[in-house]
């Protein structure tokens, strides 16, 4: 759990933390690769929602270098398969995500990230 697709969608939401709050830094992560069924339409459809640079950076930190630096103009099946693997098959089971701006630590335990805020962090 905590697939990289999820990591690409979560930003720090503490009070006042509105810039440089994404992507969250990965720390001490334990990952597992689990196979998932390939749905090219879903992956293609999700492309416009992705923050590409953040995704590539996170994938490289976890040792997957299959994605190009820039989002390619032409989307072929091989590329979609690599993207599918990065988005859906790499799971972060333990570790933490840290806000690059305010330093808030969001711990991940058994694959579930705790994104709850303390009371001084809510508006």
């Amino acid at each position: 759990m905590v697939r990289l697709i999820t990591h690409n969608l979560l930003a720090c939401h503490a009070k006042g933390c509105t810039s440089n709050n994404f992507p969250l830094k990965l720390q001490d992560v334990a990952i597992e690769v689990r196979e998932a069924e390939f749905n090219p339409d879903f992956v293609r459809g999700f492309l416009p929602r992705l923050e590409w640079k953040a995704l590539v950076q996170a994938a490289r930190e976890l040792g997957d270098t299959s994605l190009p630096e820039e989002m390619p103009e032409m989307v072929d099946d091989g590329f979609l398969k690599n993207l599918h693997h990065v988005l859906l098959e790499i799971h972060i089971d333990e570790g933490a995500m840290i806000c690059p701006n305010c330093g808030h630590t969001y711990p991940i335990s058994n694959g579930i990230p705790n994104m709850l805020l303390a009371e001084h962090e809510i508006g």
Binding site: L10, I112, P113, L116, E119
Partner: protein, 490 residues
């Protein structure tokens, strides 16, 4: 070319029947002719319906996905008496002529609201002898099955759900239908598959299987779609939605509900049981009113059963009182239902893709309910698709389906809705409408008594059938809101 098909429906959740048909028709781009201009005029208290479809394939698709369909048939004839039925069958000879020569067949004679003695079943079958079917009668492997359904009306409608006296008779015969079976409703057995009792992980707020399946159908769940449940709890709707192929995100303010005991989260354990663990996209612990989603317009549907405040209290981050010296866990405060509902629709408008759907339950006090209660929840660009009541007597819950009809972009909601209140009403010249689900929790625990009620001891639920169903929904009702689950870690 449109042909007519005879649908036999399960006699449960009658108000959900048409919305489900319409949803699945939309999902598969099927056009259904109901034969009436205004769908609200259809009588859903009767289990038989003759509908026009473009092809047999469409009928099969509906039967494979709609939970409330028991079977679909080629429609050959109907009548208010057997003479009428036979006349109609003779007139429609072109529909069945091709089976006369050498098709093996068998008969099914069934009835709604009464049972036909075997002797008379044979008489009914033999009354069709003018059709001159020459093929063999084969009870085990017939090529076609001819179905006759009699319909009787309860002469004593108030006795619904009770056993009739044996001498009371069959009630009033109102119609008989005849057709050839196309397909049994193969979605209906999913009720057994998703039975909560057989699930490896569930909690006291888990949603029953049939409703979870109906909700999943309302979302138009299908492969490649992304669906979100912001109050996922023990995940009841996630399993059914994922079963139909969609990926599901879930979040909850209380991580213990999602985890249960053990190292693998409970929701994943139950999802594995149904073979859909891989479609649970991710689970996150957060308060949806303080959510970390980076952007909107991500989801094809939002499906949720928000906490009503009766068994599981609706909570959001924040402190009830300024000072509180417990060891530090983020404090929570109650989240009033009418404010929650308004916020939920607004959140859905931000988070849904254009054309996406929000499907959720809203409990309401039946006596006070008015249609405006639902319309007052809406904001620009969100339209009601369906509103079906599950009735428990003096209260009920409404399954609301809302569609995002706009492609315009909206900012994330601020979650600062102030619930309508009598005080606020006094401040306006025109009285503000107070919806029936406002302060549902308080009303529930007061037994839905009016302040000036004549009867001092009104019970929370009005009748026996209602109270049984209500107890199933609410469990052992106690006014405290401690979750009974399980380990302590958030």
């Amino acid at each position: 070319m449109t042909s007519q098909y005879l649908f036999v429906f399960a006699q449960a959740h009658a108000e959900f029947r048409i919305p489900e048909l319409l949803s699945i028709a939309e999902l598969y781009s099927i056009s259904i002719q109901f034969g009436v201009e205004d769908l609200s005029k259809l009588d859903v208290s009767r289990p038989f319906m003759v509908l026009g479809l473009d092809s047999e394939e469409d009928a099969r698709k509906l039967a494979r996905r709609c939970i409330l369909i028991k079977s679909v048939h080629d429609f050959w004839a109907s009548g208010s008496t057997y003479e009428e039925l036979h006349d109609c069958t003779r007139r429609n000879q072109h529909l069945w002529q091709k089976y006369v020569k050498d098709t093996s067949f068998k008969f099914r004679v069934d009835a709604h609201n009464h049972s036909i003695p075997q002797r008379r079943q044979r008489d009914v079958m033999e009354s069709f002898d003018y059709m001159n079917f020459l093929g063999e009668i084969n009870m085990k492997a017939a090529e076609i099955e001819l179905c006759v359904y009699e319909e009787c009306m309860y002469t004593y409608p108030d006795k619904h759900g009770t056993t009739r006296h044996k001498l009371e008779g069959d009630g009033q015969f109102i119609a008989v239908y005849f057709g050839k079976l196309i397909e049994e409703g193969t979605a209906r057995p999913l009720l057994t598959k998703f039975d909560v009792k057989k699930r490896s992980y569930f909690g006291n707020t888990s949603m029953e299987a049939e409703i979870s399946l109906l909700m999943a159908n309302q979302t138009l769940a299908s492969p490649g779609k992304l669906v979100y449940d912001p109050f996922i709890g023990t995940g009841s709707m996630a399993y059914t939605t994922a079963y139909f192929g969609a990926y599901v995100y879930g979040s909850d303010i209380d991580g213990r509900q999602m985890r249960g005991k053990g190292s693998t989260p409970g929701i994943l354990r139950a999802a594995s049981q149904y073979g859909v663990a891989e479609r649970i996209m991710d689970l996150c612990t957060f308060d949806v009113t303080r959510n970390p989603w980076r952007c909107g317009e991500m989801f094809d549907a939002i499906i949720t059963d928000p906490p009503y405040g009766v068994r599981a209290g609706a909570k959001r981050l924040g402190r009830k009182k300024p000072f509180d010296d417990q060891p530090y866990i983020p404090p929570t405060k109650p989240y009033e239902l009418s404010a929650l509902a308004v916020d939920l629709v607004c959140l859905a408008r931000y988070m849904l893709k254009p054309g996406g759907r929000l499907v959720f339950f809203l409990p309401t006090v039946n006596e006070d309910y008015a249609e405006i209660d639902i319309h007052s929840l809406l904001c620009d660009g969100m339209e009601i698709v369906a509103n079906s009541l599950q009735d428990f007597g003096s209260w009920g819950r409404r399954l609301i389906t809302v569609k995002k009809t706009t492609a315009e972009k909206f900012p994330p909601p601020t979650f600062d809705t102030v619930p309508a209140s009598a005080d606020a009403t006094a401040a306006f010249d025109t009285p503000q409408h107070i919806p029936a689900h406002k302060d549902f929790r308080e009303k529930y625990f007061q037994g839905f008594k009016k302040e000036d009620a004549d009867k001092p001891e009104a019970s929370p639920v009005g009748n026996v059938a209602g109270s049984l169903a209500a107890l199933r929904i609410l469990g052992d009702v106690t006014p405290n809101e401690q979750t009974t689950v399980l380990d302590r870690s958030l």
